[in-house]
Symmetry: C2
Amino acid sequence: MSSAEEIAKAAKSAFDSQLGVASAERVNALHYIREALESKKTEILAANREDLKAAQVEVDAGRMTDSLLKRLDLDKGDKWDSMLQGVSDVANLPDPTGIVSYAKELDDGLELYRVSCPIGVLLVIFEARPEVVVNIAALAIKSGNSAILKGGKESNRTTQLLSHAIATGLSQSSLPDTYVQTIQTRAEVSSLLSLDQYIDLVIPRGSNALVQNIQNNTRIPVMGHADGLCSVYLDESADIEKAVRVVLDSKTDYPSACNSAETLIVHESLLQTVWPVVGRALLDAKVRLLCDPPTLSALQGLSPSPANLSLAGPSAPDAYTTEHLDLTLSVIALPSLPEAIRFINAHSSHHTDSIVTESEPDASAFCRGVDSAGTFVNASTRFADGFRYGFGTEVGISTGRIHARGPVGLEGLVIYKYMLRSVGTKGHVVGDFGAGGKKYKHANIATTTVPF
Amino acid sequence: MSSAEEIAKAAKSAFDSQLGVASAERVNALHYIREALESKKTEILAANREDLKAAQVEVDAGRMTDSLLKRLDLDKGDKWDSMLQGVSDVANLPDPTGIVSYAKELDDGLELYRVSCPIGVLLVIFEARPEVVVNIAALAIKSGNSAILKGGKESNRTTQLLSHAIATGLSQSSLPDTYVQTIQTRAEVSSLLSLDQYIDLVIPRGSNALVQNIQNNTRIPVMGHADGLCSVYLDESADIEKAVRVVLDSKTDYPSACNSAETLIVHESLLQTVWPVVGRALLDAKVRLLCDPPTLSALQGLSPSPANLSLAGPSAPDAYTTEHLDLTLSVIALPSLPEAIRFINAHSSHHTDSIVTESEPDASAFCRGVDSAGTFVNASTRFADGFRYGFGTEVGISTGRIHARGPVGLEGLVIYKYMLRSVGTKGHVVGDFGAGGKKYKHANIATTTVPF
């Protein structure tokens, strides 16, 4: 067993040693990994059954939830096959590196290119589902980053064999087999969090508590996800059908997802028009409604009385800062769009917020005024997702405001470097510029790739 | 005097309240600030003389360096005028916000736009030069961020009046006058570093120790600058004239700058050819050379003996990880390009490194293999600079690998959000997609601006 520092050093050295490797080689490595996983299927699933057996003991003893146990199972439905398909899918995505986003001729024969490149060494910490090891390994390899992975201890037997298959695949490619490593203990994580000379980015995928704990214990940048406290605002001009559809989908399509709505804001003018229809639909769908006095009394005053009216009750003040993650929705009436924007900026987690409106100026003001990663018009908050956005796959959803925000695709795993080439006969020096000397040209170069 | 928390809260609320403000209003604010500064010139320069007087006492008592005192002086040369011109220059730069970098039609009538927007509240900490208050205020306002600024205590009298003029200018505009605030004490900085609910990014501009101290004491992201340990590598095919010009400019143009070279790597095959010419030129320029045995004995074996040969001596092992910041250069001979790349990745600070070569494959391998923010070919490391890169102005140089890397222009002060608009008649919901339902289109939309 290597020490945490040896693991981190090996990861950095694996990263450095493959910087010149062509992107086709990464694709090859992913195919080898898929093959290695296929050939080890029997052993891996046997180890997974051992993990499940041990987990069942924990569940029986009341120390583990049943839903956690279910997430461990790698042989359920098409999970195994879709894990393998995921490796091929990532292999087939466009290469996120080598893309020029800024190119200028600084002087005759002096060309500057800003070109996307990997970040370096990623430390990824996640819980439960063992297939995440394979997902993240694929994303790291595709984007040219090396990775150290730590899964949940419940899946240690499975992840150890998955990692072994990954290393086997890597060893058949021209990438070092230490390019993706896994660790097993929290103590190793703690040690790694102090090694900012080797590790460039920490990606925690799990609970809010996990993310905050990591942020508090490292000076390495953290790309994480805090709360998902999303809201829908029904504007003065909201269309009734759109309101019902968007609110219902935002709340009920998958209530435990971070992009589900937790708060509904109703323009006061809708209390006797749109709100009763939306409220009835929510109660029909068995959504518990935590209402402020105006929205509650509007519901209670309806005739005939809505089905399941007992699910509607008064809201406590903390309702509007609570991530329910179930069929519960906090509801409040506000007098204007600016008030709604202020309320959202003060209460939401800056994840995704949606307006239902027929007014283009209001849509525009909402999208600019609400300070969230996603600002939507007449669309469900549930669209906030890397696959739906067209990224092919998702690294996670970032509620940070640095580097990557919202659903993060492969682009979130790259940064850029500046390449500067002098093609003159004398080389280029700064001393030739300035008072009495040459002037910078800063002429655009039209290219998306580096020409050398 | 407000508490740190009140200041942070006011900054966040100032940020939120101006989210819908048109970019022309920011430009107006910058013009008002310039006018306010001009109208207060006499008082500001009087306060600056007070600061200088107090600093002189410190210098006389040996508690402050003369160079620090010089940096305080706002009335030296054209400093005042160029500070004012800087405000107008920033006002005239292109707006970094509102730019669409990704646009897709997810479904008929469902349009996704990724659009650049400000980060939020910046906490900027810098040392000595009081005009930085004005520079940073201008950059923050132009990019739509609100800012809390902390200057060096030596310039408190000056920065207080500069801040007052900034607030006066802001109050004439439609931006809140708390949009840019200044603080005076380290205790306030300490308190602010814990307020990650209000502050989104810390930008320390100063010593390496300042940056590291801040990184260790906050979970707010930090965009900073560590060492500038740059190197030049003379490749097997290096042209002699280019080698001399690039090495001399990289070392001597401005030795105390972070983008000056500290290490020279010489391909072994050049020890009797290119290196003696470069070595003589460096000694002529009075550069102290800390050499490994092969490069030292090559110099000592020359006939006639080079001028100032006594400036060349043996290197201690830590020479290659030392940022000299003066006319000193560490020199080492290595047998190959791959060895040089490995050496640079292990020793440099990943700031900027340059190869002198006539080989395009070697140039290409160097630029890809060296893991630095700048990888240059036949060009001085001194080109690593925001103005030279064409950004108009510079927020700083980042040696981090997240968000922004290398010289940072206004683009480094923005992130993006996703705006999603349904233009259909029913609103868009996720429940309509998936098994048996609709498929995502992900068709490109050709635009650089949001159409609503």
